[in-house]
Symmetry: C2
């Protein structure tokens, strides 16, 4: 199989992820932070290392502000529900995943919040002027993606975060499509909260995600319960990271995530981005040779994360996905949980696009094979 | 190491859990329910099987009412937040884990709910008469554990559920300490919602839990986001199980959980309980020989799940846990995230107890080794 569905989850995972998860389950699976026997201490140490590795990767201040979650949706729900209050005004964009759109829509219906969507330009990037105009209306919170999961467009998120700080608006950044494959320095990008899955660019197992608190703006707790700390009180603790990690953590997943983080830190995020850029360049060159395909993604390499949305002009997307499945080329047809993005692109009524998303382990040859198929079917 | 911390998480896991998780991560890790290529279909099938296996184990009606969560805390938060409304009255017990107590306390402070705690008898079981009297006050919801994680006492949960139905009160059952090691028939125990972790008696990996909806009483959605279904709408879907499974599921964990469920179904839950009873009987016989130990757990085998809380009379619990750690016998000192249970037992001020919790894979010899140490130190 040729795997081009890395925007959904990366495959393969980093080397030794499977092996280390296996060893943990086989030899030392125990709970974390709640006991004193040696295995329990060992896994507590691994979880701490994983936090520290996220901190290093993002150049964040404190590892105890790195919260492990089940996935990015869990992280974004915690951030949004924990920061948006009744009657608040929230600014967002059309290019958000349903993990942002649906919590906001839920709060709009149940807590009377107002949601404003930033206008976008002809290349499907949010317009900074409009964003700034919305911020002038004094919203409480802005939530926006660093990179579209439909087009792969890398948004002007640094500028958006800066504007939020300028206008005193809390910013929540969804970095699910960039974390682990693009340099993200939280000393420079001063979003209040940064969320991501752990199984996409971070190359860890499904069942992992992170919420990183990057300022003194702390959400209210969302999920409450046992944390192994302050167990004497039925009031949920407010110490970090326990406040946001109620219940037995997914230590199995975190062991895998820690392994992939070590891999990413060893190679270096700039090397990873450089390699990805080479793949993206090659992909764009190949796209040039297609005659009957509409491309919805930005083709400026510097603004592209390696997620390409395509519409064949001579057949339906269902036909094309059937061909790709048969050739064992894994990609993704549909709306990609981002309906407003597809409305913006004008692809909503056709049921979306074919999305081809590149990962660190893809090769030039795999890209060539894909395009050989596309050419063969006159795309 | 001798492992007696099964009430926290079971170890070892069921055979082939580690192997199948390894194979999934190594060869076919892909997202679920959102694509059409063969690996994506394969994992969707495994997740469906896991749901069906939970349904079988519990004799539940519908597998689409089996919701996978990150842990029991996640399941209980979804059930409690989704069913308890502002100003509601909720009945619970002193023997709940913080995963129940803390969400209730949170709602008491923020949504003005009233929480009533059922009186308990001298053996630390909730008093059914008092429970019934509380139900007569017409509370909206009752949340209670099937088995204490501190004493191992198997509560009269069937009777409590029946009383709830009689009085028209919604019931949420925390079965974390029983599911997978005790027969639980949801045609007989008609709780509206049943929650459990997947990594204790169910012998699956950490990072797994379940919420089973066992009636037409459906909680409101708590976490919202992408589900791969109804992607055209920013309104969260109300179809099952998607409504409660926003974001990429922990497929890695579910592969492991499905493996352990097959193991449990193969052996049969009655055989597992029978074996556990044999271990519990042996443990209780050994307890008889201790002269300087206070035992807080019920010693009626039929009412005991294999979780024993002990206080040494001749040394502190800290000293004893030090000895056990040194001998590589894993147990757990403290309040076990259940402060009110320890207040009831009178062990709160001493910082809790030593908890020894048996699992399906423990042996008579391991129990003998533990008691040899306890005898040696004159416990």
């Amino acid at each position: 199989m040729i795997y081009f569905d890395n925007a959904a989850t990366s495959f393969p995972k980093a080397p030794f992820v499977a092996e280390n998860v296996f060893n943990y389950l086989k030899t030392s699976c125990s709970n974390v932070g709640r006991a004193s026997y040696s295995n329990a201490i060992e896994i507590s140490r691994t979880v701490f290392q994983a936090r520290e590795n996220i901190r290093k990767l993002l150049n964040a201040d404190k590892s105890d502000r790195v919260i492990f979650t089940n996935n990015a949706t869990h992280a974004l729900n915690m951030a949004i529900h924990g920061l948006v209050k009744e009657n608040d005004h929230v600014v967002t964009t059309h290019f958000e995943h349903n993990s942002v759109l649906r919590p906001l829509e839920y709060l709009r219906r149940t807590r009377n919040i107002k949601v404003s969507y930033t206008a976008y330009d002809e290349d499907y990037f949010p317009e900074l002027t409009d964003f700034e105009n919305l911020l002038k209306q004094k919203p409480q919170v802005a939530v926006f993606t660093a990179c579209s999961n439909v087009t792969g467009n890398i948004m002007p998120f640094k500028e958006m975060v800066d504007r939020c700080r300028e206008y005193g608006v809390i910013s929540i950044l969804d970095a699910s499509q960039l974390m682990g494959s693009y340099p993200l320095d939280l000393q420079d990008v001063k979003a209040d909260v940064v969320c991501s899955s752990g199984h996409k660019g971070l190359l860890g197992p499904t069942g992992t995600g992170v919420m990183v608190l990057n300022s003194e703006t702390i959400p209210e707790a969302f999920l409450t319960g046992g944390t192994g700390s302050n167990s004497e009180s039925i009031k949920h603790p407010e110490i970090m990271p326990d406040m946001f990690e109620a219940g037995t953590p997914n230590t199995t997943g975190i062991v895998g995530l820690n392994t992939s983080l070590e891999f990413i830190l060893d190679i270096g995020i700039n090397v990873i981005r450089k390699h990805k850029i080479a793949l993206i360049k090659h992909f764009i060159e190949c796209l040039d040779n297609l005659e009957n395909t509409i491309i919805h993604s930005c083709l400026n390499v510097q603004k592209q994360a390696g997620v390409f949305s395509l519409t064949p002009a001579n057949m339906s997307i269902t036909e094309l996905i059937g061909i790709l499945d048969e050739k064992e080329i894994a990609s993704r047809m549909g709306l990609h949980c981002a309906p407003l993005a597809h409305k913006a692109l004008g692809t909503f009524d056709q049921g979306g696009t074919i999305r081809v998303s590149l990962g660190f382990f893809n090769t030039f040859e795999e890209i060539d094979e894909l395009f050989a198929v596309l050419k063969h079917y006159d795309c």
